[in-house]
C-alpha cells in the first residue's frame, strides 16, 4: 500500500505557537519538506483535555505566550500559500472554535482551503457539531467541502461506525488504544474490524479532489489515520499496514525538544524507503 508514493504515509502533528509561532512555522516547513502526507496543525488551548503531558505542556506554553486563534489562522493561511499542494488538517478543542464563532471560523477555513477539522471533544453528531456542519455545506454542490473528522476508538460500537459512515465523513481518526496521546504504543485488536467496516464502505459523498491527490485511492473509500502513542518508525510502519497514515504528535515534539528533529524525521523516511523496497520485490 505504501509503494508508488513519494510522500511519507504520515500525519505530522504540530502545536502552533510552540515554542514560538515563528519557530512552529519553520518546523511545519520541515515536516512538509520531509514529505509528510498530512500536516495536522493544532490551535493550542489552555486545557487540552485529550492530550498527554508532552502536547499539554506545549499547548500550555503556547497559550501562555498568548498565541491567538487569529494568529493561528494567519499562520495556516501563510503556510497554505507557501505550500499549496500540502494537505493540511486543523485541530483544536471546541471552546476555542466556539468562542471565535463557528461561522467565522468555518469561513476562514474554507477561504484558506483547509478541508478537515479535528475537534477531539466534539462528537461529530452532537448538537454543536450539527451547527458547525450546517455551516460547512457548500450551497452550490450540497456537498461539504470542510469536513469534521470523527475520532473513533476501539469501543465505538458497530452501529455507530455505520451511522458515521452514512453521514459521509471522508477521514476517520482512530485512537490506537485506550490512552491519551504520547503514552506508549499498542494497537487494540478490535480496530481491525472497524477498519474493515470503513474500507467496505464506498462513500459517494466525497469530494473527488481530496482523493485523487497522489493517486492514492482510486476508489472512493474514506481514509483512515491511526494515532496516539506512535513514536518509533517500526510502530509507524506497523500502523500503515492497515491505515492510510500514521499520526505522530508527542514523539515529534520530544524530538524537537531534544534537538533531534532532523534525525528523527530521517529515521522515519529511511524506514518507509526500505519498506517500499521490500514491497516492490
Amino acid at each position: 500500500m505504501v509503494n508508488q508514493r513519494s510522500k511519507l504515509p504520515l500525519m505530522a502533528h504540530l502545536v502552533l505557537g510552540y515554542p514560538t509561532l515563528a519557530e512552529s512555522l519553520r518546523t511545519a516547513a520541515q515536516y512538509i519538506v520531509a514529505g509528510v502526507e498530512i500536516l495536522e496543525l493544532q490551535i493550542p488551548f489552555s486545557h487540552p483535555t485529550a492530550d498527554g503531558p508532552v502536547i499539554t505542556a506545549a499547548c500550555q506554553e503556547a497559550t501562555r505566550l498568548g498565541v491567538s486563534v487569529s494568529d493561528c489562522i494567519e499562520a495556516i493561511r501563510g503556510l497554505h500559500a507557501q505550500f499549496p499542494e500540502q494537505e493540511i488538517m486543523v485541530m483544536s478543542y471546541l471552546n476555542r472554535i466556539y468562542t471565535f464563532g463557528f461561522q467565522e471560523f468555518v469561513t476562514e477555513m474554507k477561504t484558506i482551503g483547509v478541508r478537515h477539522l479535528i475537534i477531539p471533544d466534539l462528537p461529530v453528531d452532537s448538537r454543536a457539531a450539527e451547527d458547525l456542519r450546517d455551516l460547512t455545506i457548500s450551497k452550490k454542490s450540497g456537498l461539504s467541502n470542510l469536513n469534521l473528522v470523527p475520532v473513533l476508538a476501539a469501543n465505538t460500537p458497530d452501529p455507530r461506525v455505520e451511522k458515521l459512515l452514512a453521514m459521509g465523513f471522508d477521514f476517520f481518526y482512530l485512537m490506537s488504544d485506550f490512552k491519551i496521546t504520547g503514552s506508549g504504543f499498542s494497537l487494540h485488536p478490535r480496530l481491525k474490524a472497524i477498519i474493515q467496516k470503513i474500507r467496505a464502505h464506498p462513500s459517494t459523498n466525497l469530494p473527488a479532489v481530496a482523493l485523487t491527490k497522489e493517486g492514492h485511492h482510486s476508489t472512493n473509500h474514506p481514509r483512515i489515520g491511526i494515532g496516539f502513542g506512535i513514536s518509533t518508525p517500526e510502530q509507524a510502519l506497523k500502523v500503515v499496514e492497515d491505515a492510510d497514515v500514521a499520526i505522530i504528535g508527542s514523539a515529534l515534539i520530544q524530538a524537537q525538544n531534544a534537538g533531534k528533529l532532523t534525525e528523527y524525521l530521517e529515521s522515519l523516511r529511511q524506514a518507509f524507503n526500505n519498506q517500499q523496497f521490500e514491497t516492490k520485490h
Binding site: F45, S46, H47, T49, A50, G52, P53, T56, Q60, T63, S68, V69, L94, N95, R96, I97, Y98, T99, F100, P120, D121, L122, P123, V124, D125, S126, R127, A128, E130, D131, P150, V151, L152, A153, N155, T156, P157, R160, M175, F178, K179, I180, S183
Partner: protein, 442 residues
Amino acid sequence: MNQTAKTYKDIILNTLGTFGGSNSRQLAGAVGADRNVPPPSATELPYGGTYIPEVLLPSLQEIAAAFDHFKFDEGFLADFADTLRTFSGRPTAFTPLPRLSAEFGGAQIFLKNEGLNHTGAHKITHCIGQILLAQRLGKQRIIAETGAGQHGYATAAVCARFGLDCTVYMGKKDYERQRPNVYWMELLGTKVVAVKEGSQTLNDAVIAAFKDWVANPDSYYLLGSAVGPHPYPAMNTFFQKVVGEEIRQQCIETTGRLPDYCVACVGGGSNAMGMFFDFLDEEQVQLVGVEAGGHGTQPGEHAAKLRDGKRGIFEGYHSYFLQDGDGNIAATHSVSAGLDYCGVSPILAYLADEGRVKFETANDEAALSAVKKLAQTEGIIPALESAHAFAYAFELAAGLTKDKIVVVNASGRGEKDLFITMRHFQEENLKAYAQHLLQHQK
C-alpha cells in the same frame, strides 16, 4: 411566567443536555431577566450536552441509560433512601438561628445542616446515588475528582463500604490546603493523586479524571457536582434534590410555611441545585446562589462565573466559564477549594438566564468572618464554601423585615479547613503546634 415556572422541574430532569439536544433547545430558549449577559436566542446552542471524546461516549451513554431507568425504579429509590438514612444520617437537621437573627434585626434565619452528613458535606448524597448505580452496572473501579476533598472523601467512603477500588484526583494546591481530607481518603483505602498540571486546582483534577477514564473506559467516573457532560448535571441534581424536599417539610413544620429565600454557595452547583430544585416552580421562594468573590474582581482573583463568565464548552458541557477573550480557560481563586472552579452547572446557567435564580458573590474575607460569626453565635462551624452563603445571607437578612424567612444551606462542616482557618485566626498557635509536632517526632 407562571406557565413556564410550572415546567422548570420537568425541563431540567427530562430534557437537559440530552445527547443530540434538539428537544432541549427550549432550555436555552427562554428570555432572561436582569442579567448583564444577553440571553441566548431560541436557535442557539442549548446548555449542557455531551462534548467529550468519542471514546467516552459508550461509558456515558451506559450511565445515562442506567440513570433513566433507575430514577423510576422503586427498588433502587428505596435502596437510595435507606442508604441515605442508615449510612449518611439523613434527614439532616433544620436549625433556627435565633441569636444571629436577633443580632441582625431582620429576617429569621434558618440553617440546613448538610454538614451533619457522614463525611461532613452534602456530597455523600450524590455519591450514594451514583455508587448504587455503578454497583448495578457491575463496575469494579471508581474514578473521582475533588476540590475541597469532600467529594473525594465521600466517594472514598462509599467505595470502601461497597468494596470498590477508588482513585481520586486532586489538584496539588488543593491536596496541600485540604490535607486532612487527603488523609481520610487514604485511610479509607483510596488512592489520591495530586495533579500537578495547570493551576493545580479542581479544574485540573476534573481533566485528570477524564484522562484516566479515556485510558480505562470500563471504570465508573463518579463526578462530584452538577457539572460535566450529560447525565451528570441532571443526575446529581436528581440525587441532591432530597435536600430541598427535607427543607420544605422541615420549614413547614417549624414555621408553618415555605421559606422566602433559599441561599446556597455555588462551586459547580450540586448543593445549590439540591436545595433549589424542589422550590423551582414556586416563585414566592427566592433562590440565591453565592459565588466566590475571592480577593478581587480581576481575572484570576475570583470564581464568579455567573458574574464574569462567558458562554463556553468545556469539560463536556455548554455553560458559563471564566475565560479570556479568545477561548482559553482562565485561572480562578477562592479561599475555599470547593468554589475555586472555572465553570458552573448548565442547569444554573439556564436558571440564571431565566432569572429564576439570582447570583451574588461573597469574598474570601467575608467568608472567613462568617465562619467565626456562625461558630461563636450559634455553635456551628461551617465549611468555607458554605460560609460564602452565610456571608451573603447575613447581609440579606439584615435588610429584610422580621416576618421573612431565610434558609441557608450549610453544605459542609468546617473541620476540613482546620489549617486554613487556624492560619487566619491563630497563626502563632498553628506555627507553635507545627513545631511541637516536629519536635515530638524526634
